[in-house]
């Protein structure tokens, strides 16, 4: 790929990363080791991987806090290494741990943040009121954030980040340490932001979070991007991952053979495996279909095959892989 093409694409992408490498001084290996990806405007992009995979360093480069060893990174079309000041105008960061200004009230945290970003004083006050209201913070607006729990602090940080209307919002492990209610609140707000067209880039080691929020997920390990796709396509890519188990009442071996043959002939069925059937009065036929496409869509055709042979479907079980399975498939080990 030519450098020119990469940079051209960077101009229209919300986030663009090309062959990014970061090696910390005295570190034996690269923390980020040749990562390339693009995030389109309005997209929710998740970087999934275990601790130490290089996600946070990648976000660090994009948010101008880490200088890459080599490679290119841009946010909203601005080269983050060459013009960090301009890039900071277009982005906002929600860190893992609270970095709220403890000397200022919640409201002033929002107001001064906007001031740092050049928002006019009238607009500052108005936006602060709107966001405090929206995030359920009005009652505590004049309190200093000392005593805030992780979830409350994060709420304030999201509200603060929105004060300067960033084009790209970076969230580092947004759900870590949140109780279920706080997590749902956050997810709802993030969905709203997505609908409002804000580009979201989040890192997570939580596959549920990645699957629930992200339009596309990049799976990272040891500084490398191992896979990058929509959660659905990633999960479908797991070899032998998607299965459909069918049970029917049948003790006739000849009919069973015919049924298995018929199921194997269905499009999107890779192979059919006959499962041990527990001894029963009428006898059972249990089969597992390994599916390449959408397993639920195969239920009707499969039932059709059974019906054609005079058998009735008595049980159906879908086996759909998770992002965890994707990670295991790629690295041979569990995410955590």
């Amino acid at each position: 790929m030519g450098e020119v093409n990469g940079v051209d694409r960077a101009a229209t992408s919300a986030v663009s990363v090309r062959d990014l490498v970061k090696r910390y001084p005295k570190a034996p290996v690269n923390a980020v080791d040749g990562v390339t990806f693009d995030v389109q405007p309005g997209e929710v992009f998740g970087l999934l991987g275990p601790n130490g995979a290089g996600k946070t360093t990648t976000i660090g480069v994009l948010t101008t806090r880490v200088v890459p060893t080599s490679g290119f990174a841009s946010v909203a079309g601005v080269d983050v290494v060459r013009d960090p000041v301009r890039a900071r105008s277009a982005l906002a960061v929600i860190p893992q741990r609270s970095n709220l200004d403890r000397a200022l009230s919640i409201r002033n945290n929002l107001i001064f943040h906007a001031a740092y970003h050049g928002v006019s004083s009238r607009e500052r006050a108005q936006r602060a009121d709107e966001l405090l209201e929206q995030f359920g913070l009005l009652e505590r607006a004049n309190v200093k954030p000392d005593m805030f729990s992780g979830g409350q602090a994060q709420r304030v940080m999201v509200a603060r980040a929105l004060m300067h209307a960033p084009k790209v919002l970076f969230l580092d492990e947004p759900s870590t340490g949140l109780d279920p209610a706080a997590r749902l609140f956050l997810w709802d707000r993030l969905q709203e932001l997505r609908h409002a067209g804000v580009t979201l880039v989040l890192t997570t080691h939580d596959m549920d979070e990645a699957a629930a929020l992200a339009d596309r997920v990049g799976i990272m390990d040891h500084g490398k991007l191992l896979a990058l796709d929509t959660p659905e396509l990633l999960m479908r890519s797991v070899p032998g991952g998607t299965t459909l188990e069918l049970t029917t009442q049948s003790d006739d071996p000849a009919r069973a053979e015919a049924i298995i043959g018929g199921l194997g002939a269905l499009a999107e069925v890779e192979r059919v495996e006959r499962l041990e059937s527990p001894e029963g009065p009428g006898g059972q036929l249990r089969v597992r279909l390994y599916v390449v496409g959408d397993a639920p869509l195969l239920v009707a055709p499969a039932a059709g095959v059974l019906a054609a042979h005079g058998a009735a479907l008595s049980d159906v079980k879908l086996g759909i892989p998770t992002l965890e399975d994707v990670f295991i498939g790629l690295t041979g080990r569990a995410l955590r």
């Binding site: 910390y24 660090g60 948010t63 101008t64 806090r65 880490v66 200088v67 960090p84 000041v85 301009r86 900071r88 105008s89 982005l91 906002a92 960061v93 860190p95 741990r97 609270s98 970095n99 709220l100 200004d101 403890r102 000397a103 200022l104 002033n108 945290n109 001064f112 943040h113 001031a115 740092y116 970003h117 050049g118 928002v119 936006r127 709107e130 966001l131 929206q134 603060r160 929105l162 300067h164 209307a165 709203e192 932001l193 409002a196 067209g197 804000v198």
Partner: protein, 267 residues
């Protein structure tokens, strides 16, 4: 929703962001002004009271000692206030609370964030030093003062404030939070007592080794410079030497401190 309100595409000018950050610091200090004053005034006040007033009244110090002590305590206030203002919070902000991140992520060059810290520390220090003047009059009855020395006086107070800020920047970026207590007592106390604030430098000729030691403390040149400005009859280091040494140390410390700041701010 409001988050997408367009029209914020324009990157604000560096000056505007700088002023907003400075405004934040002024706002916070203003909110705790009495605490701030007590914090910075107490030490020089007691030094002045004990050494200038009490010991003099008891006859343990010669007449005129208060006059040469006062410029030294102004120097001490100027240097120490800005150093404390900058160093302590910076260590904590970088190492623990991470509060500084919101400013590091403001659309402003990282060097300007450091420059704001230095400027603000110097402003606080100038206020504290100014407050020492009425306190001096109150405690001592009169202070050495001459209008002709005003330009040099102002120059040395400002240089002292900046020197302390630069020292604070170096300490604040070099010290790890878990070492803060050790380092500050190891650096702070010697700095306090080798800066010629309680004795004029030429008089140390009888204590040659200590004289050499004190010459290595840049605060000495603030004390001596202020003595030259306010009470030139007391033997002191020539003001031009003081100016030169201070300019040099300031440049060096600012360079080291800014480098340290960059190292802490950007990986």
């Amino acid at each position: 929703m409001s988050a997408t309100t367009p029209g914020l595409d324009v990157v604000p000018t560096q000056r505007r962001v700088f002023l907003a950050v400075l405004q934040r610091d002024i706002y916070v200090t203003w909110g705790e002004f009495p605490v701030f004053l007590a914090q910075v005034i107490l030490q020089p006040f007691f030094l002045l009271f004990i050494f200038g007033k009490v010991l003099g009244s008891l006859g343990y110090t010669r007449t005129g000692y208060a006059d040469l002590l006062f410029p030294g305590l102004l120097a001490l206030t100027a240097v120490v206030t800005s150093m404390q203002t900058l160093a302590f919070p910076l260590v904590i902000e970088f190492g623990w609370t991470k509060e500084i991140e919101d400013r590091l992520l403001a659309p402003m060059s990282t060097g300007l964030v450091a420059a704001e810290k230095v400027l603000f520390a110097a402003i606080r220090s100038l206020i504290a030093t100014a407050v020492m003047i009425p306190i001096g009059i109150l405690v001592l009855g009169s202070i050495p003062w001459r209008a002709a020395g005003l330009p040099l006086f102002l120059a040395f107070v400002v240089l002292g404030a900046l020197l302390g800020a630069a020292l604070g920047l170096v300490l604040g970026t070099l010290v790890k939070p878990n070492r803060i207590n050790i380092v500050f007592s190891l650096v702070f106390t010697p700095l306090l007592f080798t800066g010629c604030s309680q004795y004029p430098w030429p008089s140390l000729a009888r204590l040659r080794w200590f004289q050499i030691l004190t010459a290595a403390n840049p605060m000495t040149y603030v004390s001596e410079g202020l003595r030259g400005a306010l009470i030139p009859s007391v033997p002191h280091i020539e003001p031009w030497i003081c100016l030169l040494v201070l300019a040099g140390s300031l440049a060096l410390l600012l360079a080291v401190g800014t480098r340290g700041f960059y190292r802490r701010a950007v990986d």
